[in-house]
Symmetry: C2
Subunit: 388 residues, 2 copies
C-alpha cells in the first residue's frame, strides 16, 4: 500500500519531553521533568459540584454541538479577567492553549516564513509551528527578555515574534517592564506582530508581573491564555484573544480543526468560575509553588554551591533553569540521574538553533518539598560526579 507522507510530516518529530516522560514513569522516580501542575491544586470538589449542576440544569445543551467561538459566559469571563479592554467577540476558546498555537500557525505561516522566537523557547510552540514549515529565527535573550537590538537586526520580513514574557517555559525568566516597553515600541515601529503566550502569568509569588504586551498594543498582538495551570490541564481549556480583523480566519481554522472545544468542559469551568472562585483558589497555588521553589533553591544551594553550576530564581511559574559548566552535556547526565531515581529535561530541545547542551530545566511544582530535597541531592551527586 502506497502511503505517501506529506513533506511537512518528514519534519515532524516525537516530543522530546513526552519521550522523556515515558522513561521517567518508572515507579518511585522523583520527576522534575514534566510541566505537570501539582494534583494537590486541582479543585476536585468544585468540579464535582459543577458537573452535577451543569448536567442537572443544562444537560442537553452541555452535551450538544456548540458554537466554534466558545461558550458565551466563558468568553465573557475571559474578556473581563484581562487588564485591557477586550470585547468577548475577540475571545476564541481553544482545546488547550496548545491548539491556539496550531491555529495561529495555520493562518500565519507559509513554508519558509520567518518566525522569531526567544532563546530558548517553549518546545510545544516549535512543535505546533513546525508542520507549517517556518524558518525559525532565534533572537538573543537574557534574564530580562528579548534583546531588542538583535530583534531589530532580524525582524525584516518576519511573520511574527512568539514570546512568553511571564515565568517563561523553559527558563522561568520574566521580561522586565523596561524590556516590555522597548519591545512594544520596536514591534510597533517595525510593524512586527507579536504572539504572546501567557499560561503562567497568574502564578506569581510576591508581586504580579508587568502588564502584558497585548495591553500595550492590542491590534499588534494575539494573546494566549490557559486554564491548565489555574484549574486543571486535563480539561484542555485555553483561549486566545485576537484583533478583530484576524479573528474570522482563526475561527475558520478552529471550525476545521475540531468544530469546537467540548461544550461540557466549557460550561463546567464557567460554573466553577462563578462568584470569584479563582480569586480564592489561585493564591493557594501560589503559596504551594513558592514554598516548593524555595525548597528547590535551598536544596540547590546546599548541594551545588561552589561547583560552578548556576541557576536562576524565578518570580513565579513552574520552572527553574540550570546551567552546568561549559562542556557538560545535560542529555548525557539524564540516564545517570534516572538510575538514581531523579529526572529533568535537558535544555537542548528548547533551542530552535545552536542549542546549549549544558542547560537543563527543573520543574518545582510536581514533586513535594520533601521529594525536592531528596531529588536535588541525588541530582547534585550525579552532576558532581561528572564535572569536567
Amino acid at each position: 500500500m502506497q502511503w505517501q507522507l506529506a513533506e511537512r510530516a518528514q519534519r515532524m518529530n516525537p516530543s522530546v519531553i513526552r519521550e522523556i516522560l515515558k522513561v521517567t514513569e518508572k515507579p518511585g522516580i522523583i520527576s522534575f521533568a514534566g510541566g505537570l501542575p501539582s494534583p494537590k491544586t486541582f479543585p476536585v470538589q468544585a468540579f464535582a459540584a459543577a458537573c452535577a449542576t451543569v448536567l442537572k440544569n443544562d444537560g442537553p445543551a452541555a452535551l450538544q454541538y456548540a458554537a466554534s467561538e466558545g461558550f458565551p459566559a466563558l468568553r465573557e469571563w475571559v474578556a473581563n479577567s484581562l487588564p485591557w479592554k477586550v470585547d468577548p467577540a475577540q475571545v476564541l476558546i481553544t482545546t488547550g492553549s496548545q491548539q491556539a498555537l496550531d491555529l495561529i500557525a495555520k493562518i500565519l505561516i507559509d513554508k519558509g516564513s520567518r518566525v522569531l522566537v526567544e532563546t530558548p523557547t517553549y518546545l510545544g510552540a516549535l512543535q505546533a509551528f513546525t508542520p507549517m514549515e517556518p524558518e525559525f529565527v532565534s533572537i538573543a535573550s537574557d534574564a530580562e527578555g528579548i534583546d531588542v537590538g538583535d530583534l531589530r537586526a532580524k525582524a525584516q520580513g518576519a511573520r511574527f515574534l512568539y514570546v512568553l514574557p511571564n515565568f517563561q517555559n523553559p527558563t522561568g525568566n520574566t521580561m522586565s517592564e523596561a524590556r516590555r516597553a522597548a519591545l512594544s515600541a520596536a514591534a510597533a515601529q517595525l510593524g512586527l506582530p507579536i504572539v504572546e503566550d501567557n499560561p503562567y502569568g497568574d502564578l506569581w509569588f510576591d508581586a504580579p508581573p508587568p502588564a502584558p504586551l497585548a495591553a500595550r498594543n492590542p491590534e499588534g498582538c494575539i494573546y494566549m491564555g490557559s486554564f491548565s495551570k489555574t484549574l486543571a490541564p486535563g480539561l484542555r481549556l485555553g483561549f486566545l484573544v485576537a484583533p478583530k480583523a484576524l479573528y474570522p480566519k482563526l475561527l475558520q481554522a478552529k471550525q476545521a480543526a475540531d468544530l469546537h472545544t467540548p461544550s461540557f468542559n466549557q460550561r463546567m469551568v464557567a460554573e466553577v468560575l462563578k462568584d470569584g472562585f479563582i480569586d480564592r483558589h489561585v493564591p493557594t497555588i501560589r503559596a504551594l509553588y513558592k514554598a516548593q521553589r524555595d525548597a528547590m533553591l535551598a536544596a540547590l544551594e546546599k548541594n551545588l554551591a561552589g561547583t560552578g553550576v548556576q541557576w536562576n530564581m524565578p518570580d513565579g511559574g513552574m520552572f527553574l533553569w540550570v546551567k552546568l559548566p561549559v562542556g557538560m552535556d545535560a542529555a548525557a547526565l539524564l540516564p545517570k540521574a534516572v538510575e538514581r531515581n531523579v529526572a529533568f529535561v535537558p535544555g537542548a530541545a528548547f533551542y530552535s538553533d545552536s542549542e546549549q547542551k549544558n542547560t537543563l530545566r527543573l520543574s518545582f511544582v510536581t514533586a513535594s518539598s520533601e521529594q525536592i530535597n531528596e531529588g536535588v541531592a541525588a541530582l547534585a551527586q550525579v552532576i558532581k560526579a561528572n564535572l569536567p
Copy 2:
C-alpha cells in the same frame, strides 16, 4: 500592523452550514439543517453518575495531563468494538472525529496533492483538508456508492480516497456489499489508500450495514469513528485506527495539535461504556431515528408526490437527500423557507466541484415527528410555489 496571512488562509472559508445554523437559530424554527443528534438520546443520568465516579476515584489523574494516544481503557474498548482484529496500539483518541480529518490532512496532503472524494461528500472533510491545499477530485457516485470505473480513471497519483460508506453525510446513502468488494479490490490493485469515515454506522434501522472497508484491507485504510452520535457530541470524542507504520506520524501531529484529548472526558466515557451500556443505549436511538425517518418519508409523500421532487430512503443515520427539478436552486429557496419557519442545507456546499444546485439535505433527527410533519408541509409549500 502588518498581519500577513498564510496562502492557505486565503482558501479557508466560513462553514456554510455553521452560517446557516446561525440564521436558523431564530426561536420557533423547525430545523432540518444541522446534523444535531436529538438531545433526547443523550444519557444525561449516566454521564452524571460517571462524572461523580471518575472524580471520586481518579480525580487527580482525570484532571492531569495525559498521554497523547488516549486513555488506555477507552482505546481497548474501541479496539474490541470493531469487527476486525485491531490492536489498541493502533487506536488514537481524537478531539471529535473532525480532528482526525485535520491530523490526516497534515500528514498526507501536500499542496496540490490529489485527494479523491465522493460526489457529494462531507463538507467538514473538505474544510479540514482545504488548509493543506489539496486538489480535490470528485469521483462519480450513485446510490450504491463510488463508481469504481471512474475511480480507476482518476486514481493515478492520488494520496487517498476519502469515503463515508454508511448512511453518508449528506446523502444518507449506504455503499452496497458488491460495491465495497469492488472498491476494496480496486484500491488494493491501484495501491490507493482509503480514509474511511464512519460516524453513523451504528445508527442502522433494520439491519447493520456491510463490513467496513478497513476490515477488508486494514493496512490500506485509516478508519475513523465517533462517540458524537451514539453518546453525545458535546464531549468531542472520536478516534482513528491507523496502520502501525502510519501511527507515529499521526501521533506527532496530535501532540502538536492539542497535546491530548481531555482526559476527564475520556475517563468519563470509558466509565459510561462499562458493562455493555452502549448495547442497551444505541437501540433506543435507532428506534427514535427510524420513527422520525418514517415520519419524514410519509410527510414528503403526502406533500410532494407527483411534483417531480425526488428523495431517497436512508437505511440509517441522520440525513435524507432531496433532488428538486433541474433548474431549481435550493439556496434561493432557503430564505423563503426560513420565513416560513423551516430550514435545511442547500446541497451545493457538499460538492468539491460542479455543484448540483437543485439538491438539499434534510436531517430527520433533531426535530420531533410532529415538528417533521409541520416543517415538511411548510417546506413543500415553498417548493411548490417555486416549481419551474
